[in-house]
Amino acid sequence: MADEKIVVVVCGAGFATSTAGENEVKKLARELGINVKLNKRRATELKTVLSTMKPDMYLLMTPVTVELNAPKVNGVPFISGIGKDEALEEMRQILTAE
């Protein structure tokens, strides 16, 4: 179908919050009918990610201060429930762009 979107889910630890983030992206991808390739990375691996990947979106499960090479969405709302709809809308905008 449409070409694949690459999404990097950035987490602090790698098992607690990332699953929630990934699930939200998968759900949204189904809703929009697009293919998404999910990559999970820890915050400490961001330098490597920046030099080796060019994703379409970053979903941050923990705030980071590094400058990123693609639009980013704050994923903490998916954990807390606060601001979840706004975050979903942000993701929708980014994934349906271009």
Partner: protein, 423 residues
């Protein structure tokens, strides 16, 4: 009446910890309102993760126990307690009273909010493990279900209250409004570390030294990765234990395996628990109408800070070396993956000063080492109850994150002085 409750649970114990966990989660899921299909899937998935976790822990103990004994003999170090790290998570969920503990915890949180004792609603169900770990250790020490449940609830109440005091600072520092971070594993370290940091900020010279994250991370590079840390540590231990080259390499591979596989198994457990957790959110939302609550969320949401990450890189090897402090009998190995949780709570108050964070963390770790040593007996007991394989001659196991928690230690000590500890 104590006796009747206890007898009921001894029967339940006979199911084996896999059965206990599965049934307990199934019941909790249904009680919270999950459809039977979802509840079964969640309970099974979590149980599968739990089984995987136990496999890895058994391997860890099988490998490290003889190595530890050899090390102790050769070096005459008093480090005879084997570190099982997050193996305690498995014991927390698989303990006989886990079902009762979880339900009691949910009820306690709701009650404490109604009583205006706390503003934190902790539906991040996964992190109940800290409280369940406290319960597991108390059960191991006393074999008494009532104390077990009580201990968990007291620990939770304390954690929630402390979480309330630091929440505003974290909300502002990390830009995450309306949330709280009540994970037991970060709150107790924070409550010890924050006063230390405040003290350091008053000492001349020390208060002015800066340490910048960028250079730190660059220097650590590949040595910051768990898989490398595991391999290096394993080989080092093999060398100290007097192993030949082949066995040294094998121990390196096995430790590297533990560092990677243990968290992966936990991930599977988490997958199972997430559905129950989301359901718990919905369930408790009903009771929260009209109250201001802070949503308790997982600590990894505030791990991304560069000062935190640098401090983690620096402290990991330091913690290993700290094992030789007097009064401690556990060589920190598997617990190294838990180092982040000791640091997260401190950063905001340390104003991102890595030196201050590390110094405060050292104080925290020292206390945790001593508590872990003191509770090794209870830790070993609950491991046996949950069905871990302890090879011949292994005397004791323990862990830092939650095995060394000072609140649990205090509760344990009180019960000990009252004569309830049956070790």
């Amino acid at each position: 009446m104590f006796d009747a409750i206890n007898k009921g649970f001894q029967w339940f114990t006979g199911l084996g910890s896999n059965g206990i966990l599965c049934v307990a989660l199934l019941i909790i899921g249904l009680v919270l309102g999950l459809k039977i299909g979802d509840a079964i899937r969640s309970a099974l998935t979590a149980t599968v993760g739990f089984i995987g976790l136990n496999l890895i822990v058994d391997m860890l103990i099988a490998q490290m126990s003889p190595a530890t004994m050899a090390m102790v003999e050769r070096m005459h170090w008093n480090l005879d307690v084997v570190d099982v790290g997050w193996g305690l998570m498995g014991m927390a969920w698989g303990q006989p009273a886990s079902g009762m503990v979880i339900i009691a915890l949910i009820a306690t949180n709701i009650a404490l909010i109604f009583l205006r004792f706390t503003k934190t609603l902790m539906v991040d169900f996964w992190n109940y493990w800290s409280f369940a770990a406290c319960a597991a250790l108390i059960y191991g020490a006393t074999r008494n279900v009532v104390f077990t449940v009580l201990a968990a609830c007291i620990y939770m109440a304390v954690s929630l209250k402390w979480a309330d005091t630091v929440a505003p600072k974290y909300q502002e520092f990390y830009g995450i409004p309306g949330c709280s971070w009540p994970t037991g594993a970060i709150i107790a370290p924070a409550m010890i570390g924050i006063p230390v940091v405040k003290l350091l900020q008053k000492i001349p010279v020390i208060k002015d030294i800066k340490a910048d994250p960028e250079t730190m991370q660059r220097r650590m590079g590949i040595f910051g990765e768990p898989i490398v840390i595991g391999a290096v540590l394993g080989m080092l231990i093999g060398v100290i234990a007097g192993y030949d080259v082949r066995k040294v390499l094998l121990l390196g591979f096995n430790m590297a395996a533990v560092m990677i596989l243990l968290p992966r198994m936990i991930q599977i457990m988490m997958e199972g628990l997430i559905t129950i957790s989301d359901q718990a959110k919905e369930f408790t939302a009903k009771y929260m109408k009209g109250r201001e609550v802070w949503i308790g969320i997982d600590a990894s949401t505030i791990m991304g800070n560069p000062a935190t990450m640098s401090a983690i890189l620096i402290m990991t090897p330091i913690v290993t070396f700290m094992s030789i402090i007097p009064g401690n009998r556990m060589l920190a190995t598997a617990s190294l993956v838990a180092v982040p949780w000791f640091i997260i709570g401190i950063t905001a108050y340390a104003k991102e000063n890595i030196l201050h964070i590390c110094l405060a963390a050292m104080v925290v770790f020292a206390i945790y080492f001593w508590c872990a040593t003191a509770m090794a007996g209870a830790h070993t007991e609950i491991a046996k109850i949950v069905g871990s394989e302890l090879p011949e001659g292994t005397s004791l196991i323990s862990s830092l994150s939650e095995g060394g928690n000072p609140i649990t230690f205090i509760l344990y000590k009180i019960l000990d002085l009252l004569g309830f500890v049956k070790l």
